[in-house]
């Protein structure tokens, strides 16, 4: 009997953790009339999943929110990698004046949360007439000091002898950085990609500041618009919307559990 106690405790806890997901999916396929029937029975009396999901996808441009999320996350990730990899390589393997100062600046910047920079960045973008653009949504995240820090730690362990030999063979510094050193750190790159995409797919604060055009809203902001429109009127459609917005990250997580956990908790490992 004692053997089972941990399992029972864990199962009760997991029930609480998963209840919102279960309730979300269950409500999203139930008919509006069944809302008043509070039971956790998994099979609805009448399957209205199609209607609920259709309503969620047509009341607000759900597909557009998803597309916006993909564009913003991809744009941010690409520029982050393009700027952080060479900087980390320079910090780890090249001597140049101001290197120490740059390292200190990177570590100091690690402590500064995005929310502390939002106000001046917002004023700057407003003055430049760039609010309500994809650029405004992405710009503050073009530099990831966290990526520089992470890649620097990983690049440092790359053997100098191989770099020297490659230089002798006439490889350019660019080829060494992207072709050799980064290739040796692909797990770090994958973990960082997960970290970055999850963070920006789920972010609400910055999009809420620079976007008020529905056509440019990323998924969390779209969800907020939707729940404001749909206040209490139709829980089935609301839950269908929530399910659609949550699904991409949850599905990716279930498919690549290990690298997801590594990527998201990476800040903790370092």
């Amino acid at each position: 009997m004692r053997r089972f106690i941990p399992h029972i405790v864990l199962a009760l806890g997991a029930g609480v953790m998963l209840l919102p997901f279960y309730w979300m999916v269950l409500t999203s396929i139930r008919a509006p009339a069944e809302i008043f029937d509070i039971s956790l029975w998994p099979i609805p009396k009448e399957f209205t999943g199609v209607e609920n999901y259709t309503q969620a996808a047509t009341t607000v441009p759900m597909a557009r929110f998803m597309l916006n999320g993909v564009i913003v996350c991809a744009g941010i990730l690409i520029v982050q990698v393009l700027t952080a990899v060479p900087a980390a390589y320079a910090l780890a393997k090249l001597r140049f004046p101001g290197r120490r100062l740059l390292m200190i600046a990177v570590i100091a910047a690690l402590c500064v949360p995005m929310q502390a920079l939002a106000l001046p960045l917002f004023v700057g973008l407003a003055k430049a007439g760039l609010l309500n653009t994809y650029f405004a949504q992405m710009a503050p995240f073009f530099l990831s000091v966290f990526a520089i820090f992470l890649f620097h730690q990983s690049f440092r362990s790359y053997p100098d002898e191989i770099i020297e030999a490659a230089r002798m063979d006439g490889f350019s510094e660019m080829e060494i950085c992207w072709g050799l050193v980064l290739r040796g750190s692909l797990p770090s790159l994958a973990a960082f990609a997960v970290f970055s995409v999850v963070a920006h797919w789920n972010d609400l604060y910055w999009p809420m500041i620079v976007v008020n055009d529905t056509a440019l809203a990323p998924p969390p902001l779209g969800m907020l618009f939707f729940s404001d429109v749909e206040t209490g009127a139709n829980y089935g459609a609301l839950m269908a919307g929530a399910a659609m917005i949550t699904a991409p990250m949850v599905v990716c997580f279930l498919l690549a559990r290990r690298s997801f956990i590594a990527g998201i908790t990476m800040t903790g490992v370092k």
Partner: protein
């Protein structure tokens, strides 16, 4: 001759190093350094976005903030939120991690179940929680009435707003902290448990107190720091569930309202610096530890 040969490639790598770091340096200036200076500048003026003129007001914004009942309430609310989320988020996660750590075959399953809320979009899940906690339509209150208690108006009673949001905060952070504790537990050598057993620590609780808990020290410290920083950044649940109504605004939400809804740029800059001060105090130890790992 030899010095010339020595110097030339050195000069070349110096240039290359600068060229490689240049994009990052420029972005560091544009995204961090210049905005920080501008922010500090705003905080001592009465600037309002769109206004044509502004005046230097010294520290008035800061003294105003500490006399502003809304800001003080936001500060108190955030502190209450943190006081609930930090201990529950840390100790429940430790408990779950200890239980999961002992499982062999089912470990992956439990890990997945508890980590799922971390990946889910909080804005969407807060909407789901709103429905779950609904006084008449939600299953949580159905369970409470079934047990014979009065239904609880989680999102109606102003006194319960912050604790309810803290509950959702714990739900979200638990899996994250669990994974950090699992990493810490895996790093403890098995021999230590054996040694403790030999020395008479027969009961698992004794072994926990003599071996596991001290060995987890650095992990626990780190988990407490990350949990407190994320507690002070609570925003999404407020934006979805209350929008700050009935005096439920938090630090970041009141900052959002002042800076971006009411355009009180100067005042919001002062609030931002106070917020940044809190975050820096919480993260300073962690950063020094991180810096020690870096060899220049």
């Amino acid at each position: 001759m030899t010095t010339a040969v020595m110097i030339r490639p050195r000069g070349r790598t110096a240039l290359k190093g600068l060229a490689f770091a240049a994009p990052a340096i420029l972005l560091l200036l544009a995204i961090y350094i210049v905005p920080m200076l501008v922010l500090a500048g705003f905080s001592v003026t009465d600037y309002q976005l769109g206004a044509l003129n502004w005046e230097f007001v010294g520290l008035k914004n800061f003294t105003d903030a500490f006399a502003d009942p809304v800001f003080l309430r936001a500060l108190a609310n955030t502190a209450l939120y943190a006081v609930i989320v930090i201990p529950s988020g840390v100790f429940l996660a430790l408990g779950v991690a200890l239980l999961v750590h002992g499982r062999k075959r089912s470990r992956a399953f439990w890990e997945t179940a508890y980590f799922l809320p971390v990946t889910a979009t909080l804005v969407a899940m807060a909407t789901v929680w709103q429905f779950l906690l609904h006084p008449s339509l939600g299953p949580v209150n159905a369970a409470i009435t079934w047990l014979g208690f009065e239904p609880v108006s989680f999102l109606g009673n102003p006194a319960l707003l912050i604790p309810t949001m803290a509950l959702i905060g714990v739900w979200q952070v638990l899996g994250f902290n669990m994974v950090l504790f699992l990493a810490g537990l895996t790093a403890i050598p098995q021999d230590l448990h054996e040694a403790a057993r030999m020395d008479g620590a027969k009961h698992p609780m004794d072994r926990f107190l003599t071996v596991t808990w001290p060995m987890l020290g650095p992990t626990t410290m780190f988990v407490v720091v990350t949990t407190s920083i994320s507690a002070f950044k609570v925003f999404e649940t407020v934006a979805v569930l209350t929008k700050g109504r009935s005096g439920s605004e938090t630090l970041l939400y009141s900052l959002y309202l002042e800076g971006f809804e009411y355009s009180n740029t100067g005042y919001a800059a002062a609030l931002t610096l106070i917020f940044l001060g809190i975050v820096l105090v919480l993260s300073i130890g962690q950063t020094l530890r991180m810096e020690r790992k870096v060899h220049y």
